[in-house]
């Protein structure tokens, strides 16, 4: 038989507003708080596994949507700092015509060494250029480029002490008129062009990434909205029994975070698999020592920022969606 509280406890409460929180000792409050969160997490796991197939589909959709922004993040974090490194080059690249004779190349090199403005010279055959390109981009370009479309190159290092803008300009002109030379390019020039393109690509991909990230917010929000609608009765009954909005909201926030984290995790897996497909060697940390562009695959910072992004999108989407349902039940 259930016992009613003694009347004296009732009398003590007279003329008092109900307390905002149960008046427990601090340690009991901590335990209550932990317990509340444990329960909410448990409910969230139940939400997720209850309709497992739908959950898996949602997580994979989130993951594929996050894959592109995640790849951008990795590419651009790899590019960071390489720009300055490259811009310091003060040389001239001479792209040779295709299929010229070995003697012509030999002759060209001799003519160039004779010039006082030129400090050093190095020759790379077409095969060497391709190898360097592969090493520097970190991608097995055989999959991307059919055959070898790259020309042989002679790199000149200028003796900057012995040259001025005008001497370099006349040197450039002289080089261009040599037999067997296809194109003469000042390194700083093409580097600037490259980085102008990189900047444009960066801005476009940032825009695309923001759009995709917003889509993930919408996907998670919509998933949680459907979930909250499914548990409408439970929310209603809980509010009638004195559940606070925070209590009602909590399991949905956890569900959102779980969706976001799992989506982020699988996005990392997709990115990893994508790079693996492009080059199986990509994950080797000391992949190449060429002082140029290297892609190191996923590092700890990348993974944690993708997971953090997923979790934040999860909690944000869930917050908006669950609040809408909670406010709908205004009792």
């Amino acid at each position: 038989m259930i016992k009613q509280e003694s009347p004296s406890t009732g009398a003590n409460r007279r003329h008092e507003l109900p307390p905002d929180k149960p008046q427990n000792p601090p340690i009991a409050n901590v335990r209550l708080w932990l317990n509340n969160h444990k329960q909410a997490l448990h409910r969230a796991k139940f939400h997720l596994t209850h309709n497992l197939f739908a959950s898996i589909v949602t997580i994979l959709v989130i993951a594929s949507t996050l894959t592109l922004p995640a790849s951008f993040q990795i590419l651009f974090s790899n590019l960071q700092g390489k720009e300055d490194q490259l811009a310091q080059h003060s040389g001239i690249s001479i792209f040779l015509q295709k299929n010229i004779a070995q003697e012509t190349i030999q002759q060209l090199q001799e003519q160039m060494t004779a010039k006082p403005e030129i400090k050093a010279l190095s020759y790379l055959s077409a095969a060497d250029v391709l190898a360097e390109f592969q090493a520097s981009v970190g991608i097995n370009s055989k999959k991307l480029l059919p055959g070898n479309p790259l020309p042989a190159v002679i790199y000149l290092t200028l003796d900057m002490a012995n040259s001025s803008a005008t001497t370099i300009q006349s040197l450039e002109q002289w080089l261009g008129e040599l037999h067997g030379v296809d194109l003469v390019q000042m390194d700083s020039q093409w580097i600037n062009q490259l980085f102008a393109i990189v900047d444009l690509v960066k801005n476009l991909s940032l825009l695309l990434a923001l759009f995709l990230i917003f889509s993930v917010l919408v996907i998670i929000g919509n998933t949680i909205r459907l979930l909250a609608q499914h548990y409408y009765d439970e929310i209603l009954v809980s509010k009638l029994m004195g559940a606070t909005d925070a209590y009602v909201r909590r399991p949905f926030l956890y569900s959102g975070v779980l969706f976001g984290l799992l989506g982020g995790f699988f996005a990392c897996v997709f990115v990893f698999l994508g790079f693996l497909w492009l080059d199986p060697e990509i994950t080797a940390v000391t992949h190449n020592s060429v002082n140029s562009l290297t892609i190191n695959g996923l590092n700890f910072t990348d993974i944690s920022s993708i997971l953090l992004l997923g979790a934040l999108l999860g909690i944000g989407g869930a917050w908006i969606a669950s609040n809408r349902i909670i406010n709908e039940i205004s009792i």
Partner: protein, 226 residues
């Protein structure tokens, strides 16, 4: 326990659901609210439970003016009241035990206390054996008893019941009313709305008849309490 003064409720539709209600429900008392459908019984219970706010007038609950309760405080006030509805609003995705445990879980009780109290409540409504059954496996009378067990499990000061026997046949209705009497005997204050006069006619409790939002008669206790 509950003092109602000049209470008026007008819904957004413009209709006066209650007009100038004055009523006192003492601690440990059990009263019936009677009247035809549309008389205002549900509205009165909703106002006491703060499911609706009055248009004017006051409700003093255990010395506390309900108008002073903010949205933030509302959930904590609700925990002092037990509700029983015509439809027991049980959750079908969990056992009867877990349905009854819900208000305790919400209020943050420890697990062993929850087990103790839920078992005591189930025992009181005579359904200890069915604790692991989900509500949809129970008869409607049993479901209503689970609803009542859920309402009393927090040991509320007041139980408000709105047509608790509305879906039940006369036999089961008698049983439920008997259960309310027993709760009253252990000191719980109850207000029960019903339109079924024949069911409560010979029950020895105060009957307040509502008609078009006003108190038509405040009938006295017909038999002595034994």
């Amino acid at each position: 326990m509950i003092e109602i003064q000049h209470l008026r409720k007008q819904y957004a539709s413009g209709q006066d659901a209650l007009r100038n209600i004055n009523l006192t429900i003492s601690q440990g008392e059990m009263i019936f609210l009677t009247g035809k459908s549309g008389a205002g019984k549900s509205t009165l219970l909703k106002l006491i439970a703060l499911l609706e706010r009055p248009s004017s007038g006051n409700i003093i609950f255990d010395g506390l003016d309900l108008a002073d309760i903010s949205l933030r405080q509302l959930p904590y006030f609700r925990r002092r009241i037990g509700f029983v509805f015509q439809n027991p609003t049980l959750l079908h995705d969990r056992s009867s035990f877990d349905n009854i445990a819900l208000p305790l879980v919400i209020s943050g009780y420890a697990t062993d206390e929850i087990v103790k109290r839920v078992r005591a409540s189930l025992d009181l409504v005579g359904l200890l054996k069915k604790s692991q059954q989900p509500p949809q496996n129970l008869s409607s009378g049993e479901q209503q008893r689970i609803g009542i067990a859920r309402a009393i499990v927090t040991r509320p000061e007041v139980i408000l019941a709105d047509e608790p026997t509305g879906n039940l046949d006369p036999e089961l209705s008698k049983e439920i009313m008997g259960l309310f009497s027993r709760l009253n005997q252990v000191g719980i204050t109850l207000a029960i709305a019903t339109h079924d006069l024949s069911l409560i006619n010979d029950m020895p409790y105060k009957k307040i008849a509502l008609c078009n939002g006003s108190i038509a008669s405040s009938g006295e206790v017909t038999q002595s309490h034994d």
